[in-house]
């Protein structure tokens, strides 16, 4: 093992940047089998280290299931591939050469899920006083049913100190080989108690302040993107996704595979700290989440014999085709369907600035439909002004009101077109705050509500109210100066005053009459069907 130990040491040295020593040793390209063996040994080494540190519960679980399960809460790092379940133990321990990487990855993902399940159960068992027999049982069953155990997204666990500590550790660990760390942003101001489980950041403290220069871990285009997100320069789910994909293209262009790694695995590892950084700047949107999943899948599907240049070109093409298909062509298709719904003499109400809805209206205007538009806007973002500007530039007759005048203006309206941030699996529409209000009042006046949404924004989450998962924007945005008086200027000093600046809200499906997607016009409740069909396709 000395030789492999030596190589192992060298590989670790290599990753800390000691390139000169590396060059002396690693002159020839390792074959694939050697690379895999190296990887396996590295993991074994790391696992042994963790096993030493594991608490005594591990032994109890060993007795129960005769499998060493690391009970230290592990994160999503794909490099850790322990095997708690006896069935899959052999499969992961001996990477068959002919095995496709995707298959073993799926199994390993399943194992990881099962392991996390048991860990969670064991943590609960610890709290209840060590009823580990009950906790280890679920370990067996998840393996039989394909486990769909979801990890709670960390951005809704701000009130749990254990989760925060986990996040801090995860951020640290991602930079364990480098000096700089992805900064952990601190919350700002008094948070309304109903929302203490969410983050609330101030725009005046961007996360990039804490990054030292040069930020060798995080690619500069990602830093720029994060800053643009946190300052609100790039806003709107389509814009954010497209910007993200372009930044990833740049990252891939600048990426070069380290010698004993495979592009398909290493690139994914490289992207993880970037994604953590971006989610610290601003919580990821559903569209961004889906885009990231797609990219990760594409990267891991790159066959190992593919040369680096070829692989990079292929990935760039994938990203381009994703943007083209899911966003640009989808909006064309949606416009085509939506224009059928716009007749001459219509008065259309829109809310805020949705790129898709603006596109539809501009297309309809070009097709010589006669209609006029009412733009509803709300404080504090006042995005409607942007929509107003774009529509008026096209030559469409517009009226501009604030959302409080909604019940006055609705009797004139014939249709309401709304954009969406995401469509949830139970048919709820997640969109900018105020959308549900518009849908509610439109329903009361019997005005049809049409939501326009691309299919890449469909997500499997289920949510029934706007509290459980939301985003809190900077509370200082609510402060306004009128007639020289700013009433809320010193709101921080007043003990019992809180400002709430929500970003999203969910609209129940009974307020929405139709959803126009690139697959056609469907009712709100058909979202899970579309998701199922999409998953089968993939």
């Amino acid at each position: 093992m000395a030789d492999s130990d030596g190589r192992q040491v060298d590989s670790i040295n290599h990753s800390t940047g000691n390139i000169c020593r590396l060059k002396l040793f690693k002159r020839k390209e390792l074959t694939r089998e050697e690379k895999q063996r190296l990887r396996k040994e590295k993991k074994q080494h790391k696992k042994n280290k963790k096993d030493d540190r594991g608490p005594p519960e591990k032994e109890k679980e060993k007795e129960k299931a005769s499998v060493p399960a690391p009970s230290k809460p592990a994160t999503q790092s794909p490099a850790h591939k322990a095997a708690p379940v006896p069935v899959n133990a052999s499969a992961s321990e001996s990477p068959v050469a002919a095995e496709k990487p995707a298959k073993s990855k799926a199994e390993q993902r399943a194992e990881r899920r099962a392991r996390q399940d048991t860990e969670r159960a064991s943590k609960q068992g610890k709290k209840e006083g060590g009823q580990l027999s009950a906790s280890s049982k679920p370990k067996a069953t998840p393996n039989e049913l394909q486990p769909v155990v979801k990890r709670l997204p960390e951005h809704i666990q701000v009130d749990d100190p254990a989760a925060l500590k986990k996040l801090a550790k995860k951020l640290e660990r991602q930079q364990v080989r480098q000096i700089n760390i992805v900064p952990l942003r601190s919350d700002y101001g008094y948070k309304v108690s109903l929302f203490s489980h969410l983050h609330q950041y101030s725009r005046k403290n961007p996360p990039t302040q804490q990054i030292s220069i040069p930020a060798t871990v995080i690619h500069p285009s990602i830093v720029r993107l994060g800053l643009q997100y946190s300052q609100g320069i790039i806003a709107g789910s389509n814009a954010r996704s497209v910007a993200l994909l372009h930044a990833f293209k740049q990252v891939i262009r600048d990426y070069s595979t380290p010698p004993n790694e495979e592009l398909s695995r290493d690139l994914v590892n490289k992207l993880s700290p970037y994604i953590s950084f971006l989610s610290q700047c601003r919580p990821l949107s559903a569209s961004m989440g889906n885009a990231i999943k797609y990219i990760k899948k594409e990267i891991s599907n790159i066959p190992s014999q593919c040369k680096e240049e070829e692989a990079k070109r292929r990935l760039q093409e994938c990203i381009d085709s994703y943007i083209n298909e899911k966003i640009i062509l989808a909006s064309e298709a949606i416009s085509k369907y939506a224009i059928e719904k716009i007749s001459d003499g219509d008065v259309i109400l829109v809310y805020g600035c949705s790129s898709l809805v603006n596109h539809i209206l501009c297309e309809a205007f070009e097709k010589q439909r006669k209609f006029r538009v009412i733009v509803v806007d709300s404080r504090p973002r006042l995005e409607g002004k942007e929509a107003l500007r774009r529509l008026v530039k096209k030559g469409i007759r517009c009226t501009y009101v604030l959302i409080s005048a909604l019940s006055y203006i609705l009797p004139e309206v014939s249709k309401v077109f709304l954009g969406a941030h995401a469509l949830l699996a139970n048919g709820y529409v997640m969109s900018r705050v105020g959308t549900s209000q518009i849908a509610l009042v439109a329903k009361a006046f019997n005005v049809p509500v049409l939501v326009c949404c691309e299919t890449y924004k469909f997500c499997e989450r289920v949510q029934t109210d706007s509290f459980v998962s939301n985003e809190l924007d900077d509370p200082d945005d609510l402060i306004v100066t009128r007639n020289g008086k700013t009433h809320l200027e010193n709101w921080q000093t007043v003990k019992s005053l809180g400002l709430l600046n929500l970003v999203y809200d969910v609209t129940p499906p009974d307020f929405v009459d139709l959803v126009i997607t690139d697959l056609g016009m469907i009712p709100c409740t058909s979202v899970p069907v579309v998701l199922r069909v999409k998953n089968v396709d993939q």
Binding site: V192, L194, S378, R379, P380, K385, L388, R389, V392, K393, G395, I396, R397, C398, T399, Y400, V401, L402, I403, S404, A405, L406, S407, Y408, I409, P411, R432, V433, G434, S436, Q437, L440, V441, A444, D465, S466, F467, L478, V480, R482, H487, L488, V494, K495, S496, L497, G498, L499, L500, N501, L502, D505, V506
Partner: protein, 333 residues
């Protein structure tokens, strides 16, 4: 001549009152509360009764009606003026009837039989001259004024009957009645208040800071978030500008949305309105009661230049007061 001086003095006061009414509606002057307007109107009417020249009740009523019409014309949206004028006219009729000595009941109720058989108009009845009518009327108006003073307190006294501890209450904009109501309850109970800021004037901010002074947990939310947070609200308590004859309300912008959201979540809606806000007007059409204010608060004229260059018309609307609606539970003094 003392009489002429009094008259000019009176007309001066009326003129200044009218100009104040005209100004305050546009938002340029100080926004005064309805209670103040009611008090000033009543005081002015009392002065008119004292100083104007009139011989009998009929003439007095004519004078009051004339002044009342002028005042309501100055600011049609301020309905308390009209309400107080009507109250004073009723006082005059009552005092006249009492002076005549006839029992109030038979005279007040204009039974159908009486209407058919009497034939003539009842205005002749007000031509008699009574020496003490003036004093009686002025005394009755004084009573009315003291009644006005105590309205807010009387409403606040009922606060504890409606608010339990640990409640979440939602309100919109700024209403002095609701403020006093909540402050009174806060002395004994602990609860949370969510205030919708009510753009563009953002009077909700003032309300929130004033409530915080009494250590009430307050949260300010933008108007767009009303439906989003409504599911956690236990009660909605609002003030209003006018209560219409069919039970509808004429209230600040956004109240209709608030009411619809409350109805969707089956949250009780309580309106705190003193007596002088009750109006006999009916909302015949939806549009009759709206008041518009200059749109420059919403979209300044400077930004309009962008669109002018492209020669495209766009219209900006901003409604300050919108009337609506039926669903509510009324709490009166």
């Amino acid at each position: 001549m003392p009489g002429a001086d009094k008259e000019t003095d009176l007309s001066e006061r009326i003129e200044s009152f009218l100009s104040e009414l005209k100004r305050c509606g546009s938002g340029a002057g100080s926004l005064r509360g309805s209670a103040e307007t009611a008090r000033e109107t009543t005081a002015l009417l009392r002065r008119t009764t004292a100083q104007a020249r009139w011989g009998n009740a009929g003439e007095l009523m004519e004078i009051i009606r004339k002044e009342g019409r002028r005042m309501t014309a100055a600011q049609p949206s301020e309905t308390t003026v009209g309400n107080m004028v009507r109250r004073v006219l009723k006082i005059i009729r009552e005092e006249y009837a009492r002076s005549r000595g006839s029992s109030e009941e038979t005279d007040q109720q204009e039974s159908l039989h009486k209407l058919l058989t009497s034939g003539g108009s009842s205005e002749d009845n007000f031509r008699q001259h009574f020496a003490h009518l003036k004093a009686n009327v002025i005394e009755a108006i004084n009573e009315l004024l003291t009644e006005l003073e105590g309205t807010t307190d009387n409403i606040s006294m009922q606060a504890l009957e409606h608010i339990h501890s640990n409640e979440v209450i939602m309100t919109i904009g700024r209403s002095r009645t609701v403020e006093a109501f909540l402050k009174d309850a806060a002395r004994k109970r602990k609860f949370h208040v969510i205030v919708a800021e009510c753009a563009p004037f953002c009077q909700g901010h003032e309300m929130a800071t004033s409530l915080c002074k009494e250590d009430i947990e307050t949260t300010v939310i933008p108007d767009a978030a009303i439906f989003a947070v409504m599911s956690r609200v236990n009660k909605v308590i609002i003030g209003t500008q006018t209560v219409l004859a069919n039970g509808g309300l004429r209230a600040v912008n956004g109240t209709h949305t608030l009411a619809l959201a409350a109805k969707h979540h089956s949250t009780p809606l309580i309106v705190c309105a003193p007596m002088f806000k009750l109006s006999p007007q009916f909302p015949n059409e939806e549009d009759t009661f709206h008041k518009f204010v200059s749109p420059h608060e919403v979209l300044p004229f400077t930004e309009g230049n962008v669109t002018q260059q492209h020669l495209t018309p766009f219209s900006t609307l901003k409604t300050e007061i919108v009337n609506k609606f039926r669903k509510k539970k009324l709490t009166q003094k």
